[in-house]
Symmetry: C3
Subunit: 354 residues, 3 copies
């Protein structure tokens, strides 16, 4: 009888279940609606005008307000969890994340992944799985394409180690690969209604911005968010198990902190219309309910978009901390460990030019 | 002045206010939108593809993704509370619950009930009220029809006992009465995108499935859910009163646990497209914020649907527990009391055949 | 580098930054959807039929269910916070609040304010800022117009005091200025589906209604609500700072209590279709997570609407308390301080006549 149990239940893939080149078809598809958008606003308080207002988005040449980039990320990511990271110990990194066509309410997203690398760990208990995941809409257009690598447990400690394949991971997404979905008539960008006057031209490389505000996480909030994405990773939901675990409590989905940091970054980067690329990122430490998240950013680069004088890209490093204000830029030296830092994200945003 | 108070305020019906044959018109009607659907996803993390994706539902012959069966149940049920169970001590049981036409975002639901039985309790303080409640959409089509019986307080302990009428309650909903809203072309059901390969043919009577995962309830979550349904039962919301009450804390709406169990059951019953009938159910013990809910199921019967070779029914018993994993099927013997069991539900789901 | 920080970040206006006559353009515009409506229902459990059901609203001559008046208020108000009250110590009062055309899902709201008065406080550290704020829809139609005054900190204690201008504030909104968006055929108002039989004719001036129920606030709930409105006032969100503050905890947005009181008032004022005016209001004491809110109301006036025999107005005083039932109308004497009272609101609702 017990054997029947395991037949019907998905216990997730273990390290030895993955093969380089393997194609993973994730379930279920997800139709995104204004319901998801409203809940995302309530969870993070995001104020970016293009996501908040249909007319504002229409003035940028879009049919209506697009879905926030990071909500798209979480929905695409969420689908992959049951197949890739149900038995993961750690989410090690992201690379080469490119956002494609915008997602609008009514669109349906599906996710697929390909295994692009495998490396057994020396401990014999775990290995690193590298995947390239893509989200597409109902027209087959790519909305997101990214790599991530995770440390996954072995089911059978005696399973043979696979041939090591470590994929080449792009250090950054080339500017030419960024998608710019906006059409902006000269002088038409409404900085009064966007919430700040600062455009691409006003930022300088090396500039640092303390996003000032802090926001405390509640258990109900991170669980609502993570379930909204249909992300089923166990550690976020089960206090009965986690109270016996490493931290004695549920761990907040790392993506929750990314969304908090992006929402906080409005104060200083209000005209960053969307995230166009995620070059890399590290969840430096876990976050828990009760933590108050702060963030600061540094402008790493200013990139002109080929053939575009209306919109440019800023490459931004955003650092999020817990229970630590950011006026003095904690974690500035990325090579040193600052225990307050929970996120170090390297990404590009699109922002109107003068 | 005080008397004016009670004139305007609904204090709910007490046992002696009910009459057999009485028709109760519940308020208010409720238009269901994608907003409710998104919030339901966030509250329970449900992953059934037909509810998650418009194209997936369209491949089953539906105009768009239908609303989750249990959200329909809660919305229909929620409307009845102010008239039936505001002064209830216990929800004693359900029987003969049949889901009718699917509900789609944009539909408006109204609920009505008829009192079908009354039985005064020997203690002279309470009685059992049996009702048959129906939910209909804006076209007058039935979306749900079910019986429940509740123990209700008397207002006046001296009120005369009514004639005892105990209605005949169906032990189960006949297979011929199940509604199957799907049109499934042979071989078209997409098990890759539904999340599991197992179809009607793959289940055996007597088979048991541990749904593995556990999910902890937060106060904010069960209150958000219960208010979403406009269910006004006092014990769920008022800590100021409940801290002096029997448990010292708010009681979670029993239906919340049903939805959690149904969402958890995805892992093992991923292709169970909808709940078609609720044959019976028992909230064996109350749940509270902080409890972690687990579930397991047993296949009670496999029923072919008359004239249908594409879809079949599974009669399922799902048991939910609190703070107790289900690998060894707690509560297996339904006649014994297992203190960890909080729900024992007997229902039928529709599931594609090979 | 630090100076660059303050250049990009909005630290909010301080008392000396305001000028009488100044026009403040608030960001961002906000498209309201059924997502916001569903979440609002889940947060407050409101049951007013006109907001709950499209067909019910259509029977009142509307194209579909309008957005709850208080959700409109919070959305218009939320936009103003970053410019007006980021450095506020206290929200001192409201006056002359008039709701205009109804808001429907799909409408986009923008907010603007004009500074109508300034008064430096004797302490030299703060001043009172009086603003008149308006919310308009995408057609430029006013949806809400109200005055409020707040006590705002000075940035520079040596800043010269402005000339004192204290605006004339209307003691109440004249009945002739109330907007009535309903068309009600005689005898067509469905009191069975609205949840109560009591209409305008049934209320008497001086009548008091205990709304009976109590509802406990959770941190996740008030933060979800306040972020839904994109209200960024810091004291609601940052436990890391607030634990060192005056109360040792986050303060609940005062508007949250208004919405709770309005939802509780259904039990006694079920046919109050909408809030048409806010004459005045006082947040008598702060509320915190864990508080249980109760409410009672007094009918202050019955106003016939010019030229209308189908709908009338009730002027209502609603008092909300924390951890204190309202059967004996705490705070009845508005001139005495009752420590349980957290809200004292003077407003008008529209309600069908016989």
């Amino acid at each position: 009888m017990t054997s029947k149990t395991t037949v019907k239940t998905n216990v997730g893939n273990f390290f030895e279940d993955f093969r380089v080149g393997q194609h993973l078809v994730h379930a279920p598809p997800r139709t995104v609606t204004t319901g998801e958008v409203a809940l995302y606003t309530a969870l993070f308080g995001s104020r970016f005008a293009v996501n908040s207002s249909d007319p504002f988005a229409q003035a940028l040449g879009m049919p209506r307000a697009p879905v926030d980039s990071m909500l798209v990320f979480h929905l695409v990511f969420g689908r992959t969890v049951a197949d890739i990271s149900l038995n993961a110990i750690a989410n090690l990194g992201y690379a080469g994340g490119v956002f494609g066509v915008p997602v609008y309410p009514g669109d349906t997203l599906t996710s697929d992944s390909r295994v692009i690398g495998l490396k057994a760990n020396k401990d014999g208990k775990t290995g690193v799985v590298y995947v390239r995941s893509t989200g597409v809409n109902q027209h087959g257009q790519t909305v997101l394409d990214y790599r991530r690598w995770v440390m996954v447990k072995k089911r059978d400690l005696d399973a043979a180690a696979p041939e090591t394949v470590v994929p080449e991971l792009p250090a950054s997404v080339p500017v030419a690969e960024l998608h710019c979905p906006y059409t902006l008539a000269p002088g038409r960008f409404d900085t009064a209604r966007s919430g700040a006057e600062f455009l691409w031209d006003d930022y300088t490389v090396g500039e640092r911005i303390d996003h000032v505000d802090g926001m405390t996480i509640e258990e109900a909030e991170h669980m609502l968010a993570t379930r909204l994405y249909q992300n089923t990773a166990k550690v976020h939901f089960n206090q009965h198990v986690e109270r016996e675990g490493r931290f004695g409590k549920r761990i907040v989905y790392g993506g929750h902190v990314i969304s908090m940091a992006r929402a906080l970054s409005f104060n200083g980067l209000a005209n960053a219309l969307n995230v166009a690329a995620i070059h890399g990122g590290r969840h430096s430490a876990p976050s828990f309910a009760g933590d108050t998240i702060y963030a600061w950013s540094e402008i790493l680069a200013k990139d002109a978009l080929p053939g575009r004088s209306d919109i440019g890209a800023l490459r931004v490093r955003t650092v999020a901390t817990k229970d630590r204000a950011c006026h003095d830029f904690p974690g500035l030296d990325a090579t040193a460990i600052d225990p307050a830092v929970v996120l170090d994200l390297d990404y590009s945003v699109l922002i109107p030019r003068r």
